[in-house]
């Protein structure tokens, strides 16, 4: 099978400080990769380099495009990359307000990506928005409400719907459950797991929360000080951590 995404030797420095260095992995279609580590471990820098929000100093992020096959997204033109990020890619921010338009209705938020790629039938756009509200467990009656009237958990579910409506093949998620109450987190995780399975999504999830990767990720990379210190199948890494740092992470979560 051809990888959907090939990450090769990604490095990002901030002056003398290393953001992340020498990160390589393949992501296959339908696979979910978890990236864990503490804050400052470089996991967010890596995610932003892969998603095109930051320009890496070295390395390639090769994505299997529908039209042209594998293309290095680091060197592709900005218009191409922006088009990719509106169609085949999606990005779920930790804070829903960073990923939503707070002054636009829920339906408008979901419809934006459809309109961005040329959908011009109001009724069809609205129908799809309502369908997606249902899929993220938001009542149809809220379609014309602004997200500012939503709870934190609903805002995050709306952000997910807004991202998935164009049927992206790769979803980047940055601490998708961060900042939410534990009960709200559990519901969101169940929802995400259902969507990932149902849509056969490929995803890269950055989190400090091992429960999130336990539930969602097929494979896991553990980062420390900008480097990947351990990688493998999620259950293997969490149940039998080899690196001392991973052992520390796992044990600290067990104490909670």
């Amino acid at each position: 099978m051809t990888p959907l995404l090939q990450v090769k030797g990604i490095e990002k420095r901030y002056g003398a400080r290393i953001g992340c260095s020498d990160v390589s992995f393949d992501l296959f279609p339908g696979e979910v990769m978890g990236i864990v580590g503490e804050s400052g471990s470089g996991k967010s820098t890596l995610l932003n380099c892969m998603a095109g929000h930051l320009e890496p100093d070295a390395g390639q992020v090769i994505f299997g495009t529908r039209a042209d096959g594998p293309v290095d997204t680091v060197t592709m033109s900005e218009p191409e990359r922006r088009m990719l990020s509106r169609t085949d890619w999606a990005f779920v921010h930790q804070h829903a307000r960073d990923g939503l338009r707070m002054s636009v209705s829920a339906g408008g938020n979901i419809g934006e990506r459809l309109m961005a790629v040329g959908d011009r039938h109001y009724g069809a756009i609205r129908d799809r928005a309502i369908d997606w509200l249902g899929r993220v467990e938001i009542e149809e009656s809220r379609v014309d409400d602004r997200p500012s009237a939503f709870s934190g958990g609903m805002q995050q579910r709306l952000q997910i719907a807004r991202n998935l409506v164009t049927g992206p093949r790769l979803v980047f998620m940055d601490e998708p459950t961060g900042g939410l109450d534990v009960s709200v987190q559990a519901r969101l995780l169940d929802l995400l797991r259902g969507l990932v399975r149902e849509m056969g999504l490929s995803a890269i999830i950055v989190t400090h929360d091992l429960a999130v990767v336990r539930l969602l990720a097929d494979r896991l990379m553990v980062m420390k000080s900008g480097h990947v210190v351990e990688a493998g199948l999620t259950d293997q890494v969490l149940d039998d951590p080899q690196h001392a740092y991973t052992q520390l992470l796992v044990s600290s979560v067990l104490q909670v």
Binding site: V104, A116, R126
Partner: protein, 286 residues
């Protein structure tokens, strides 16, 4: 009037503005930045339009100023006086006789000719600003032709009001490329934007000039199931009987009696002079 250079602005400033105008004409619908000058009138009084007019007028021109269709508002009178004093040009209220027309909020009903130039006063030139306040981002959206947001605005209109409620400053796509704010003209005027005359748009506070050259394709944005409509009050003019002109609704008395009259006062007057009679004019005659 000797204390001023012709049309108030110095020649160097006018050349700078003319360069911006030429660039705007070369790239229809694109907002060209220019170094807006202090004018002896407050922003909101059409300083952008005044500067474009100043750079466009020649001593041989005949100048007309329209404010919401009328030539006799304070705003229109003061701008007309300004150029009478500083440029000594002839002025007129007749659309037909004008060679340069500065306007706020309307396009004349009369079909403009290729030897005429119309200058629109623009308060906010950026059509994307409603949903994206960051200028760096809107500039990028224009350069990459990312205009999905314009339809989000129209989507919001329909979901809130059951129809596209945007009645003024209705966004258009110019020459299949740039999305443009046609200034706060009623959407009734949008179809007229494809015309024989040169159309220039000046925003003073925002320091932008843009243009629609003659015979340029101008399409009002819409949805397949909510097509653009150039609506007006469903009524003939009560003074001249015109059924094809944009109307203002005027409250006549405390009893709530109303009349509809052409917003374009020159159009209405010329029709009445030609013998056309509306409902209220008939009653008065009877």
């Amino acid at each position: 009037m000797n204390e001023y250079n012709f049309a108030y602005l110095d020649e160097q400033t006018k050349r700078m503005i003319r360069r911006a105008i030429l660039k705007a004409l070369a790239v229809p619908g694109y907002q060209v930045p220019f170094a807006s000058r202090e004018m002896p009138m407050p922003y909101g009084w059409g300083t952008g339009g005044v500067q474009v007019s100043a750079a466009t007028l020649t001593p041989e021109d005949t100048f007309k100023v329209i404010d919401q269709g009328a030539d006799d508002t304070t705003n229109a009178v003061s701008i007309r006086k300004f150029f009478e004093n500083t440029a000594g040009v002839k002025t007129t209220e007749e659309t037909e006789k004008a060679t340069v027309i500065q306007t706020r909020h309307r396009t004349p009903e009369a079909k403009l000719r290729k030897d005429q130039i119309i200058v629109y006063q623009v308060p906010i030139p950026e059509p994307l600003r409603f949903l994206e306040p960051r200028e760096t981002e809107t500039r990028k959206m224009h350069s990459l032709e990312e205009y999905g947001l314009m339809h989000v605005k129209l989507y919001e209109d329909i979901s809130q009001h059951g129809a596209i409620s945007t009645a003024y400053a209705y966004p258009v796509k110019v020459s299949d490329r740039y999305v443009m704010d046609p200034s706060p003209i009623p959407k009734f005027d949008n179809p007229k934007l494809e015309m024989d005359a040169i159309q220039l748009f000046g925003a003073g506070r925002e320091q932008r000039i843009y243009a629609v050259p003659p015979h340029t394709k101008v399409v009002s944005l819409d949805f397949e199931d909510y097509p653009f409509e150039a609506t007006k009050a469903d009524h003939p003019c009560d003074l001249c009987g015109a059924e094809d002109s944009y109307l203002d609704e005027v409250i006549m008395d405390d009893a709530g009696n109303r009349m509809f009259v052409c917003s374009d006062t020159d159009y209405c007057r010329s029709r009445r002079e030609a013998g056309h009679v509306g409902r209220l004019a008939e009653e008065n005659a009877a």
